[in-house]
């Protein structure tokens, strides 16, 4: 498992610094996250210090160092969804599911992320669980969705 990115690295053998971010993105796509070991190996290959790579990767919201939860919850933080919001969706989810924005819960079940407009503002406020989309128009909606997330393991 740990070396799932070996193939990616070999594909980029003659890579330079400009390829760093695409490589990180590919590794993440394949492994679900960027591991310390991947940072080390990549650093060796591109001759960039691990601090350098971590520094770069930690700058970007789209790169993460922990795998997402089984259920990855995305909450739209677009302006339209915000102004139509009736409940503080993030706060409720953080409390109910014990997971923080940008993190994965300790049991690895859930992860939570704020995202920009998803392009369907009219149905907002939007929330996505993996690739299922929900409108959160009321507290009741949210309760129901949280129940649904909790059920079927």
């Amino acid at each position: 498992m740990a070396n799932d990115y070996e193939e990616i690295l070999s594909k980029y053998r003659s890579a330079n610094r400009m390829d760093l971010i695409p490589i990180l993105q590919e590794i993440q796509e394949q492994n679900g996250y960027i591991s310390e070991k991947a940072i080390r190996d990549l650093g060796k290959m591109l001759d960039i210090s691990t601090t350098g790579i971590y520094s770069i990767a930690s700058f970007y919201d789209g790169l993460h160092f922990n795998p997402h939860g089984k259920k990855h919850i995305r909450v739209c933080n677009g302006t339209s969804c915000f102004i139509n919001r009736q409940v503080n969706i993030m706060q409720v989810i953080e409390e109910e599911l014990m997971v923080k924005n940008g993190e994965t819960s300790a049991d690895g079940k859930y992860s939570l992320e704020l995202v920009d407009c998803m392009g369907a503002c009219h149905s907002g406020p939007l929330l996505a669980v993996n690739n299922e989309y929900h409108s959160v128009r009321s507290e009741k909606d949210l309760k129901r969705i949280i129940e649904m997330i909790r059920s079927d393991e």
Binding site: E36, I39, G43, S49, T50, T51, G52, Y54, S55, S58
Partner: protein, 571 residues
Amino acid sequence: MQITIEVNNKKLRAEKGETILSALNRNGINIPTLCRLEGLSPTGACRLCVVEVEGEAMLVTACSEPVKEWMKIRTHSPRVIRARKAIVELLLSNHPDNCLYCDRNLACELQDIAYELNIRERRLSSDAMPVMLDQSSPAITRDLAKCILCGRCVRICEEVMTINTLGFIGKGRGTHVGTTMDKDFNFSSCIHCGQCVNVCPTGAMHERYNVKEVQDYLDRDDMLKVVQYSSLVARSIAEELGMKYSTSFEEKLNEAFTRLGFDRVYSTGFGSDVLITELSEQLAKNKSKKSGATVFTSHCPAWVKFAEQTMEGVLDKLSGFKSPQQVTGAVIKALVPQLEKVEPEQIYSVSVTACTAAKYDARRDDNTRKGISDIETVLTVREMIRLLRLYGIDMNMLDGRHADEPFNLKSSCSLLTSLSGGLTESVIRVLSERHGIELSPGEIRKLRTVGSFREITLGRGKLKYNFAIVNGLKGLSQLEEMQKKVHYDLVEVMACDSGCVRGGGMDGSEAESIVKERVRSICKSSKANVIKLPADNPSIRNYYDRWIPGNADLADRKILMNSYSKKEVLL
């Protein structure tokens, strides 16, 4: 080309292409800066250097904006002052302002700027950042709460030291300075050079404190307390205290140590002389054996750590000799028990140094023999001054005294070893004497020039020695290039540019002018010293002729040597 600019309604001459800041500074106009670093390109991060330029809607940063002919600049207009003040107030709003307890109290750039801008009231308040201390490193302590993210440490570590231990992590409000995966410092590739400490404007980085430890030992009567220091250390203490440095200052310093409670005061110069002697011997032997192997110096602990973590191929080429401090320390622990009739365990040995890496050096596994460390505690110059103040010692009022035998005397060569190229020069002097060859004047001049890489040749034919000097780790890339063409007998590497004179343990090392002055003064003292070569030094003669023969520990040269192995760190 000279152009005219107008600053605060006065015409000034400026060089075309220079920045506003450099024009201002040359003309004696001071404006605050925080992120600027001498010799590196501007990043424009702190925005404190803003000035008003006629015709520009925004304020512009003087550190990055080039001057233009007839540019009209106002450096202290109400608008500018308001902006600077607001920027500093923003920084202060969550800064832990327990200045009285801070390492940098009275020596903090943030404090100075706040004072200059006459900030007298906390108009913005929010919760102070919680203390986040990283004390895992043997040499350097970090306190993230005090960091104002000027980025100087990150840049010096990356652009000057080429180490890249520190980086900005995260973004927005969460931005902070840290190492890979936010791990503790001791897992990192840090070589403890302390350059980051030198450039940090606040108390966010400082050496690991050992003053308290020394105090505790000074109170103990059952121990023999010994201390060693080098001429550079004496010089820097004088500099910091605003006194003139001379041999008589050193004598006062000896007295000061005695007043503090040290039983014996030794000179680190002893270790330097041993090192020069041994290294010259090693080279001459190599030459006669025609083995031709390149020897790399190993007296800079920061360089050694660097080699151990990144240059596996070089490890078996390292000369193996410990740093002067550790050589002195090792000999103290082997010889002093015999002379003073104490057990080695009863000796508390302190070294005062210009270098933060020396703290790490003393903690290396191979600097402890049979459970006894060569050196117990290392203090930086900064800490030493604190200790002097703590004990209320006024150096001006002291009478001098000599250092203690058997490590009291030093050669003029030993002084040079705190300069980059100094060890090489010393070895050259010894070898010239030995082989009866003269160094050409041209080569001598080359020895003391600046630049990150130098090479010197001594002798001719069978007795030809090629020397390379890597001045600051940046020079390693040039070495690599040159090594393809030239075979070197000795490669000297010192991690910090110019050598220990830029050490991380002394204030002022970040300023080019101060470092230059230190170099000049060391060269001067070296010239004035009457003992020229290590072989002329009675302490050294005694060591070889009198002490070694009767002492099994000393006879075992291994106490002078380190052994190296690949170090696993997060590079």
